[in-house]
Subunit: 402 residues, 4 copies
């Protein structure tokens, strides 16, 4: 199927229709000229929602260069539409790893001042391969927990010479994106790819952070019995109080019909854990890139449905979804539009904030008032008004401390 500008534009227009914060509040903040003429690299999964963010930045005068944060998630129609609108796009649909890496280096060679990054994929490559361009960066606004961890490691090592903002620590990002966005879309992707149901099934979730909590809540709501594996004691207790079964992989995997990884780390399950799996179990990853399931240890699979491969483990067959990549992105359309409206508003305002303030080097959080302004804009778009806190509603302790 050849790339189609009109189809790409329709997809972006659909996103715009349900993105009142980007389309209103963010556009308004960006209109002050702070990013006008700046070279801004946008390196996020390259589909319609990302495209709309790039267009909003471009309309505010930024010189935008766009690439994908993952070789498998670039949409050709969207690339065509962006190019038709005059943006520089250095990405290929269905790129291999090598092509994708090369595209990122090409982005580095455009000498961006600001980056909107995902997993710090561009930032770390610039650090390694284009040190001069790296040092010249004015700032990076990072999307994910993983990317933030990388930036913090660089900062700890004294290797981060510019300020960065971590979107994930903004409440308008992590409160909504991880739970509602990943929760809903992970499950809808799994159900669609398998034509199975959760009612009555046992779903094991490895990792009970924000993402795992969201997936677990949705799975339970859809009728699954949820079993959680978590190494942190307090989170494990939270899973227990949420009514889920809690245990080790060795306890949980033998009964699981579906196993979903969401640890945010790497190699959550591999050969030793596979030995515990029930025959017919289905594995999906909702956490860290394609690193949580040890795919090589599964051996070569046979595709039995789109994005569903069957693997022979000697004593049993198990199935893997989307080759272990993020199932809600590789096997679906990623986050809902409404969620990305909030997350990209954090990124858009973050980019603007980096352009208009001189922050020290390091990893920073978007100021609370900007974070709040996003929620306020979203509520206003839904026609919701709030009361104001009144001075007499504050607890007064002055009488005790005179």
């Amino acid at each position: 199927m050849t790339a189609d500008v009109a189809r790409g534009r329709e997809a972006i227009a659909w996103v715009r229709e349900f993105s009142p914060v980007l389309d209103g509040h963010v556009r308004s903040v960006l209109s002050d000229g702070a990013i006008d003429g700046r070279k801004v690299a946008v390196v996020v999964h390259l589909e319609a929602k990302t495209a709309f963010l790039a267009l909003v930045l471009a309309e505010a005068g930024a010189d935008v260069v766009v690439a994908g944060s993952n070789p498998h998630t670039t949409n050709g129609d969207v690339v065509a539409a962006l190019r038709a609108d005059g943006l520089q796009v250095l990405a290929h649909e269905d790129a291999g790893i090598a092509q994708w890496e090369q595209d990122l280096i090409r982005v580095a060679d455009t000498h961006p001042e600001l980056i909107i990054d995902d997993g710090a994929e561009l930032t770390i490559r610039m650090a390694k391969h284009r040190p001069h361009a790296f040092t010249a960066l004015r700032g990076v606004s990072e999307e994910t927990t993983t990317g933030t961890a990388r930036l913090e490691a660089m900062h700890s090592a004294g290797s981060l010479p510019f300020p960065t903002l971590t979107a994930n620590n903004a409440r308008c990002k992590h409160l909504f994106d991880n739970r509602y966005g990943t929760g809903q879309t992970t499950i809808q992707s799994i159900l669609r790819l398998t034509n199975r149901q959760f009612a009555g099934a046992t779903v094991a979730i490895i990792g009970y952070g924000w993402v795992g909590t969201g997936i677990a809540a949705y799975a339970k709501a859809l009728g699954a019995r949820v079993a959680v594996v978590e190494v942190d004691e307090v989170r494990a207790l939270e899973a227990y109080m949420d009514g889920h079964e809690v245990g080790r992989t060795a306890d949980v995997l033998p009964k699981a019909d579906f196993v979903i990884t969401a640890t945010g780390g790497v190699r959550a399950i591999g050969a030793p854990e596979f030995a515990s799996l029930k025959p017919g179990a289905i594995l999906a990853n909702a956490g860290h890139h394609d690193l949580e399931i040890d795919v090589p240890a599964l051996g070569t699979g046979r595709e039995v449905r789109p994005q569903l491969t069957s693997h022979n483990l000697g004593d049993k067959q198990i199935s893997l979804l989307s080759h272990g990549a993020l199932v809600n992105i590789a096997g679906g359309s990623g986050h809902p539009v409404e969620i990305m409206d909030l997350s990209f508003a954090v990124q858009g305002l973050g980019c603007h904030y980096l352009a208009s303030h001189d922050l020290p080097a390091g990893v920073h959080v978007l100021p609370k008032e900007l974070d709040d302004s996003i929620a306020a804009a979203r509520l206003a778009a839904a026609g919701i008004r709030l009361d104001q806190l009144q001075p007499y509603q504050l607890d007064d302790v002055s009488e005790w401390i005179g």
Copy 2:
């Protein structure tokens, strides 16, 4: 994409893996020879789950002829696989209405003795166009509420000369299929086709029968505010007690982001109701064929995403999913495998029962013990054992009635 036997066989093998009742209990019951040599027509949405039912019947000796119950839902790979296994298939992928109707007449002309029908689509056409073959039928096992209503109307009119079984009145069908099956799959299809979220959205559901109840429960579980329109007072009160908002279309539609029809009747919403819609509202049908939304009254639409058309209603744009056809089938893969294992077990045992018993003409229900045997087989496949009711656990009223 050309039809591929191997791909069709993989899809059917996947269904078999998660269909323990059809693959075990039903196969066992059918092995007594009762349908051996019988001409059985299977007219249900022609995809992998239906194909597995047809194969089970064929392996029991039936002379199976297969067609689709809907012009849009026939899967070419599956047709190819069935034909490769020697079954007669009179269906075309992406048939137009005319071709599909012609295929059904061709099925009638094979003179089936038994029909497994969906919506009574074959039965009513045989009544009208092939009266001799119709009169010669031994029995029909019908899948849906709509089809049952049609058979009952025929019976009331004195036009049903043979016995029929209504699968929908079996507990193993209606308790699970409508709520869990349609509930889950309707919502996963809507979310996928729109890339939207339910968290925070208002979802209007027209009709609060088994299907509407299931959709409402899943929508609420996914974070939607649910508003229900229902003409039956007791069902409306049930919706109210379930925590949903309840009202007339005129009350409910102006605030709905999504509108889902599930009345089981026809023309649930049309021009007068469209006038109440909120701009940007998304319409989907989960009820009766493509008859619940008055699609012609929406005028010609513009496709903005796959199976999503935008319609200009003068003062606003609204979107329609899957052209008003059943969104979980036309825009998804229909019911989960586990659900159809139960529903098709009802059909398989129903077909066997019609073949081996002489029932009077009319609309019958599968005997309770057969219905129970399906649930028992499903539980056994899940490794679940039950206690037996003990005589001393029955309330004894004999002392009072001398």
Copy 3:
């Protein structure tokens, strides 16, 4: 504490405030004189909600005699208030069994024409002890499943010479009373009597009919892991699809922190099942009178909190709530007001229907239009209006059956 008329009246006034159906629609139907001058016995748990029903009947001209359906649930303040309003009350707060039985015989001796009964407690005693008064009865409107089973047994034995109405088969009774009423109140009573929590606990539910389903849904919603014991295969499969664990008592009891009986039969659990209990387990009954837990087999207990007795079973201690009586009534205030407004509306209209129609002997159901009228009145009281079904919304099959 001596009985207090004022306190009783306040309690009844509270009930009236949230009983719009009894106070409006039922009062209006009863005003036609059909029960004027009739002797009506009301034998239901004698607290404020029952009292309000009795007063509505009395205000319509009935000659009402009131007694309790259980020795332990009669409220002295309410009795005093009813007597102050001129009603005949044959009941004692904290009656023993003997006193309670004697009170019922005294009711029989008033020669009632109509009975509103609960568990058929008065009806069966009249059959046995006052056969002439029994034979002279015009009709009985029965509240519960248990009572209905008793009436049907009498009818099967040819021993029921008058018509009866079974409230439980009215949709306005069983759809709401069992699930919402018993569900909510059983759980709130258990939590209050124990000061424990359900978040994280395992709750075993014996019986998955309407009552057990409601309790299970509420328990799960409060964070419990729910395990269900059920002898009916289809219900067991429903529990499984609802996401609960399903098994035999021997599988389920060893892990249960709470065990709730809801079979509607007798002796759901006794000595053999007690052997499987986890130390510290808490037993409560939500089903049939005080007959579902074999209390004598627990031996004498030690009261450690109000209505909570600890029993030494040799190798472990377990706790019993409310001495095995219905925990939501004996250990709480019974159904919520809103639920009894519906259920007693069924009873009030049932009593009126028996008085104004000549039905054959047997067990009947309230006509659908009366049932519907109750729901309509309740919705109207909540300010809710419904659309009307339009003729063009019916599926037309006439073209096929010409």
Copy 4:
């Protein structure tokens, strides 16, 4: 009813049975002698759970003096049991405010070294009335958000000369206590005190912090339509995404059957908001002492049920629960045992930590490893074991940062 030592001891024994963390892990930590001989004041709602904490401290050698943190919540049986075990108790059941304040001063005069405080009630009074004893304090472990705010205000004003620990910032406290504890018990108290139901009702919740979130989730789970008032934009958006209606008091109160305050501040609703209330509305407070509902503005009420007063507001009657005090404590039994096992473990370990470490003056948080140890002990008591994080499961960024 006279105080009864045996009854008090039974109540405390019940608490102990379901407090494995206090009874095991905490007892073990405290056995090192660090608090042996120390004068420790325990000033928390004085009922059985608090009593068990006091006994654990005393058994570790502390010289414990106990008082209540609220005049209305002291249980006489429990006081008698503690005294019979040799503890000094300076509290009276049903004390008036004056008596209660006087009791606190008496505690101050015992010159405690360490305080386990609730709302900082003792600490602030010592600061004002017993400055010398105040200055001599070694440390305070505080239970609540409100108390923490008070301590922080004192610290900001330079008036806090010793270290304090804020239990509420421990994850084992705030993750469980506010959501599960207050959520469940607030709702069970409201339902019991009113004999009403939530199914179908509209419940307004003022404040969507941890407590409001918990109440809202439980209310929704019980079938209520939930409407939230919140002044913080992000929390308001969270409520919206959780599927609740969100708005101003003026939008929300006119439709609310129940109104629950949970802001943590003062005067959440008063005369202007009362004007918006629906007739018959029921008000309850789950937040800050008895300060969230402006009770004087309601005028004198008439008691119509225990702890339920009816107030005439001219054009309508409304009802107030528990006189505006915390409805789950004043109208119930406070938090479940399991929750207080965790919260009091935080307090017990906090007291031990203050005794064995020299912290600077100010407001501190319990070290993470102690917090984690509580969760670990709780899980172990439930028989749950966890996997350990493996080194190879950490994302390695070293390759990027050379």
